[in-house]
């Protein structure tokens, strides 16, 4: 990611400030704008205020204050003057821009029949910059493949531990294949544009050469659509949990596809307590469980354990039993 790519997202006033400030695009995680509040930047796990004179500081008094006009102009720029084109995404509180970066928004919700119709008077913007970690799935690959085939795999992780990052790299490697593993056709249902980071339908992250991405589509519908039209060998979905997801998973399994999925949680026991997932686990649907654990703040999570369908530990951090 280049500095220019980031600076271009903002209106003139903030552009000038960011151009003068010293920050590292590779370590940049977030830039937050809130109307009437200081301009904040997160880099390498640290929070900084951005001063009007164009430097990073820990002192709030020196920070540049964001105006409502800055927010409006930023939305105009990130939405390429076309916020109407992001209506569906904005209902979920975000839009994805070129580069796969996510722009989260908050403001006044417009409700209709108890559902969010949209957002008006946006007053807060959080731009999260996507950094794909290529190769982060290297260590789990030997555990999730057997006899040249992928095992049905469930990644269990608390929030913010990198399960989506891991899933993305798994998808990429399975799609591209390697010497001893032929590349598989992978279908990804990317409900929140987090896996592919698609912009105008084109994945901005490297998800492999044989991957088809259904962007901003509900998981249940998306899985069925992919099965019917794209003949996937593997289907990947993020954060399964509701009844429709489980039904679609059953359909996927019956079709002979392999499944890669993630779920919020910290252990298999915890997941088993969820009524919808309990049956899948008892029936040994998933052949591999990857458990992630949180590392220090600002750092991506690590693989803590890997289990097979019977609960046999295949890998434990700092001790491999396989």
């Amino acid at each position: 990611m280049k500095r220019e790519e980031v600076i271009r997202l903002f209106p003139e006033r903030i552009r000038k400030i960011l151009q003068q400030a010293y920050w590292n695009p590779q370590g940049l995680q977030e830039i937050r704008l809130r109307a009437g509040k200081p301009l904040i930047l997160w880099q390498d796990g640290q929070e900084y205020f951005v001063a009007e004179q164009g430097f990073l500081t820990r002192h709030r008094e020196q920070a540049c204050i964001v105006s409502q006009e800055d927010i409006r102009r930023t939305m105009e720029t990130v939405g390429t003057y076309s916020l109407y084109a992001y209506e569906e995404e904005l209902k979920q509180g975000f839009l994805t821009i070129q580069g796969g970066h996510r722009v989260g928004v908050a403001g006044k919700a417009i409700m209709e029949e108890q559902k969010v119709k949209g957002l008006s008077q946006i007053s807060c913007i959080n731009i999260r910059f996507a950094h794909q970690i290529t190769g982060c799935a290297d260590m789990v690959i030997p555990y999730v493949t057997e006899d040249g085939k992928l095992c049905h795999t469930l990644i269990i992780s608390p929030p913010g531990c990198g399960k989506t990052t891991l899933l993305r790299d798994l998808v990429r490697q399975i799609s591209d294949g390697w010497e001893t593993f032929p590349g598989n056709t992978v279908g990804v249902v990317d409900e929140r544009s987090e896996i592919g980071g698609s912009y105008q339908g084109i994945p901005q992250n490297d998800v492999g050469i044989r991957t088809d991405v259904l962007d901003c589509c509900s998981k249940a519908e998306g899985m069925v659509m992919l099965l019917r039209s794209m003949a996937p060998q593997v289907i990947a979905v993020d954060e399964i949990g509701n009844y429709e997801d489980i039904r679609a998973i059953e359909m996927t399994l019956n079709s002979g596809c392999k499944l890669l999925a993630t779920v919020h949680g910290s252990s298999i026991d915890e997941i088993q307590k969820k009524p919808l997932l309990e049956r899948l686990i008892k029936e040994h649907v998933f052949e591999r469980y990857i458990i992630l654990q949180k590392e220090t703040a600002g750092k991506i999570g690590k693989v803590r354990e890997i289990y097979d369908e019977r609960g046999t530990c295949l890998y434990q951090r700092q001790r491999s039993v396989c």
């Binding site: 271009r8 997202l9 903002f10 209106p11 003139e12 552009r15 102009r73 105009e76 720029t77 939405g79 390429t80 003057y81 076309s82 916020l83 109407y84 084109a85 209506e87 949209g118 105008q200």
Partner: protein, 172 residues
């Protein structure tokens, strides 16, 4: 002989100018139709494809002739560059570069830019309503001009001939 040649030249120049003015009037009607076509295409791009404005302008430019094609392409290019300028400013600056190449009057461009200037604001339904309203206004203007066309053609052609004849008389 020289006087006769000169007189004929002046006469035909007057007639030619009248004809040119009459054709300008007709061309203005055609240009108004093109503006309506652009708006119709924008409605389609927004309502069906939900394309962003840079993408929409780029695609529509392939459907229209010069100089509107160049106008739309230059607007699309400026929008994609994300220079930080407002949408309205970009529209107006690019309009300055093609205005002289069309037969549209200032009030035609003002109406067109006013319609487009509201784009990007609020939801798709609002965009379409605004565009449809602008298109209707342009259609009404075109209808009015078309209604006046036969008379205008006669007036300009007559003025051209009479003007030429008058000049010949004066000069001789």
């Amino acid at each position: 002989m020289l006087k006769v040649s000169g007189a004929l030249l002046v006469f035909f120049a007057g007639w030619g100018m009248g004809n040119w003015r009459s054709r300008q009037y007709q061309q203005r009607i055609k240009d108004l139709q093109i503006l309506q076509l652009i708006i119709s295409c924008l409605i389609g791009e927004i309502s069906y494809a939900r394309n962003t404005l840079p993408e929409a302008f780029s695609r529509i430019s392939e459907k229209v002739a010069s100089p509107f094609r160049e106008y739309l392409q230059s607007v699309a290019k400026r929008l994609k560059e994300q220079t930080g300028e407002t949408f309205v400013r970009i529209l107006k600056e690019q309009e300055q570069t093609v205005r002289e190449k069309t037969s549209l009057r200032e009030e035609d461009w003002d109406l067109f830019l006013q319609t487009l200037g509201h784009l990007g604001y609020l939801d798709a339904k609002m965009q379409i309503q605004l565009l449809e309203s602008g298109r209707t206004e342009l259609a009404m203007r075109e209808e009015k001009l078309r209604h006046q066309l036969p008379e205008q053609k006669r007036v300009w052609q007559s003025l051209g001939i009479l003007g030429g004849a008058f000049l010949v008389v004066i000069l001789i």
